[in-house]
Amino acid sequence: MIMNDIAMMAADTSRSRVYVQSLVRNNLLPRFVLVLGNKANTVLPGQINNSDFENTNQDMEISHDYWSEANNNLLEPIQATLEASSIEFEQLETTNLHDPAVIKSICDRPESTFIYSGYGGVILRKELFLTGKKFLHVHGGYLPNYKGSTTNYYSLIVDNSIGASSLFLDEDIDSGPMLRRKKFPPPEDRTQIDHIYDSAARAKVLVETLQEYQNSGEFQCKADLEKGETYFIIHPILKHIAILSKNNR
């Protein structure tokens, strides 16, 4: 079913691929997708090296409903998924969210809400909020306890769980208002968190958020997120501890 008031802004990243494939699988189709392409040969934060995934078994046994969105084809270009599902899209050859062409494209659309899936490490600036649109983001972490970056590695060390939380973005980091949040058990293969399981957890919460929106006709804001701890990109030594931890398995 096409959601008439929902569009999406999608960088060409593994997360965007997972989001679009999950939305299609769950019959929650955005009316329009703005794809931000990366013309350069360099891999940007959030993008995959295809060669790293060519030998990965992408037909994983998903033994738990929590990981229902983990079974995606990360090698399938986002454009292919959109074309196969007849979802209208426009591709701009820029990776800059604040490029005037991006702002104009968003302004010109009638949808009030854009699902946000940008390149890693980018913070939305005022220009985007001045478009009057709402930006629906799914944070990779359980809010408000885990704000900021790479929080699922921190929560694996501290709580042995990972999380995802949907919220409307504002100019502060992960400060709400929050729509939905969920904790997930650690995945079997923790080496695949960056591109598979973090994205799958976010996609699951995105799907549930949109299902709730479909059922009720409105987004249900749960709480503002003023409190909580803000984390920064985890050091690789601690990331390895989160991945290799043997306790609580």
Partner: protein, 244 residues
Amino acid sequence: MNYLYNQQNLLEAPEKYMYTKYQGIDLFQSYLNSRNNELKKCRENISRSSSSSLIIQRAFIVIKQNLISNSPNALKSFCPHIKQEDVKNINSPFDTDIDLARMNNIFLDESVKTSILLDTLFGSILLDVNNINNKIWLDRLVQRFEVTKKLYEEYLPGFRKGRGQNNLIKLYWLFALVLSIYYAETNQIKYLSTLLKVCDLITSLPFKDLARDIPEFGLDLVLSSEIVFLEILLKAKGIEYDHE
């Protein structure tokens, strides 16, 4: 395997740590080798007659006391080369009134000298780790360092824009020392993550510059603390790796 995260001068080429590659369990040994090489240089460089400064002795006591309380088995791994007779001579380690007054005289709407902030934080954390002002100001410093990968000599009102030099090694060392005592007291992993990055930065710099700018025994204490914190965490998580 070489430890990748301090191979080039991180003041000149900052490390962003984004989407770092999984390297397997050997990463721990390569990290330890790298840090131990630096410790070896520190210990070769210390003169026999040197005494450790009061700040180093105080930090040593706090970290050691926390290990005794929380991880006594790790105590044997914590052996920074500090003259134990110096440490025994501290009779009155805390000047509480001065530390408290200084912390209350740092304001967000005024310029802040980073060295004064770090000195004050150090004393104030030792005095009362739960004082919310300690966390607020330490979080501001962590945020500035994590975003810019630098510490400036001074921050303008609002504590966003830095001014002055950003290559003062002593500031990075003092920041690492403050992070070490705060992590020893609180066990909050985010501060260990920042400590690791600051130590990467420090150990990426030429050793002659470190020896010139960091008080004797100071680098030894910070690196020894960082290593023992990680060894405790590795053990708690059931991770065993080959020690060379």
